[in-house]
């Protein structure tokens, strides 16, 4: 027992939390009547419950974590709901036009402007970066069984080199952007964004739900992004395998 003082300390601390959580946290909940939750809330929670099926269960390795939804089968909405959504959309559009969100915290290499439905991301320092795609970067650890289905032609006036990979169940994109032209809308509506480092480079990651993620980072020369439904760990591994093609 006395062999690992650190573990003892940890255990003692945990026991201390055991005995204080009631008075510090639980009993501070206001003693008021229960609330009757709205249908809107119930709907959102049901959707979340479906999403909870896809909480990442595995760690490490480029392994595809689960079976994604069938294409096109995700939503079946009634006319009434469609009308309600359209009405809400119109209102949101107006509200969005009226209220511009403030810039986000501390993403050093990125300049971000947040709106209700999305965030606009641009490069925060592109002074010394190439103004064209001079060097091509590729993913060097491609998983088996997935094909490159699209790649664009690059010329002096092409601001980004893009690649799209797909098979029956999985898909992901990989893009390389000239920094001064980088200007992208990313889906941050109810999708949390947080810091991430890819090979030591500053970046951010967006959790899109259903095991889909969007990752972007700046390696000093270019901005890259990679996005798909292959699970967070697999996506990070692919991102970390990105390298310049040496001629």
């Amino acid at each position: 027992m006395r062999n690992d003082p650190s573990a003892d300390f940890n255990a003692a601390f945990k026991a201390a939390f055991d005995s204080t959580v009631s008075s510090r946290i639980i009993e501070t909940v206001p003693k008021v009547p229960d609330h009757e939750f709205s249908r809107r809330y119930r709907r959102k929670m049901r959707k979340l419950e479906r999403r909870s099926l896809y909480a990442p269960a595995y760690g490490g390795g480029i392994r595809f974590d689960k079976v994604p939804p069938e294409k096109g089968s995700f939503k079946k909405v009634s006319l009434k709901k469609l009308f309600t959504y359209a009405l809400i959309a119109a209102i949101l559009a107006a509200l969005t036009a009226l209220s511009v969100g403030a810039a986000r915290d501390l993403y050093k290499k990125f300049f971000m402007t947040s709106f209700d439905t999305h965030t606009v991301v641009k490069s925060a320092d592109f002074e010394n970066a190439p103004e064209t795609i001079e060097d091509v970067y590729v993913i060097t650890k491609l998983p088996e069984g997935i094909k490159l289905v699209f790649e664009n032609e690059i010329s002096e006036t092409t601001p980004e080199a893009v690649h799209f990979y797909q098979n029956d169940t999985y898909q992901f994109s990989f893009a390389q952007y000239v920094k001064c032209y980088h200007d992208i809308n990313v889906n941050t509506e109810n999708n949390p964004m947080s810091n991430i480092e890819i090979n030591g480079y500053d970046g951010y990651i967006i959790d899109l739900g259903n095991d889909e993620y969007y990752i972007s980072w700046d390696n000093g020369e270019y901005i890259f992004d990679i996005s798909g439904n292959i699970g967070k760990n697999a996506l990070i591994e692919l991102a970390e395998s990105v390298q310049k093609v040496e001629n």
């Binding site: 201390a16 939390f17 709205s38 909870s52």
Partner: protein, 182 residues
């Protein structure tokens, strides 16, 4: 009308776990959020947002019905509600005092081996709430700084600084408590 749901009901335990969680705790979470936000609409949003967050760290919850889990969910929703309030009022929360230099603080320095949980609890009882909450997440929930930053909705650096501040304060109060007890 039956919507077509996903074929992959491969984790039925996870499904009922999530349902159990909100059935057990959504009322308390709502009441906590309501105290801050004062409207049904925003408070429901805060509870939903908190659960969005909680799903990402589902593996941290080992028992659905326990004070530890209740505490974790309440801490999460409190910070989600504060974030909603911040966005509503367009306040930028200043978490960092730039001039402050915080060295890496080792809590164990202040704890002589043999210290029991009761003594630590005595300090925890009066430690300021925000410090209590972040130590709860790190020690009781075994969370990393990155995970803590996600729960609190702040950057990695801000979470690191807040954790250091909490440990420092705990250490100061612990020192006082143990010296008085001698």
């Amino acid at each position: 009308m039956l919507s077509i749901y996903l074929a992959a009901i491969d984790a039925p335990e996870e499904k009922s776990k999530f349902k159990k969680l909100y059935q057990l705790y959504e009322q308390d979470m709502f009441k906590t959020a309501y105290e801050i936000l004062k409207t049904d609409f925003d408070s429901e949003d805060a509870v939903h947002m908190a659960f969005t967050n909680i799903i990402k760290h589902m593996e941290k919850i080992t028992e659905t019905d326990s004070p530890r889990t209740r505490g974790y969910l309440l801490i999460t929703v409190r910070h989600t509600a504060l974030k909603v309030l911040e966005m509503r009022n367009k306040i930028v929360r200043t978490g960092n005092t730039p001039a402050e230099r915080l060295d890496d603080f080792d809590l164990e320095e202040y704890v002589i081996s043999g210290i029991e949980a009761e003594r630590l609890a005595a300090v925890l009882k009066t430690l300021p709430l925000e410090h209590y909450e972040i130590l709860f997440l790190e020690i009781y929930m075994d969370m990393s700084i990155t995970e803590i930053s996600e729960v609190l909705g702040i950057t990695y650096e801000a979470a690191k600084k807040r954790l250091q501040r909490a440990k420092k304060k705990f250490g100061e109060m612990a020192k006082e408590e143990f010296e008085n007890a001698e």
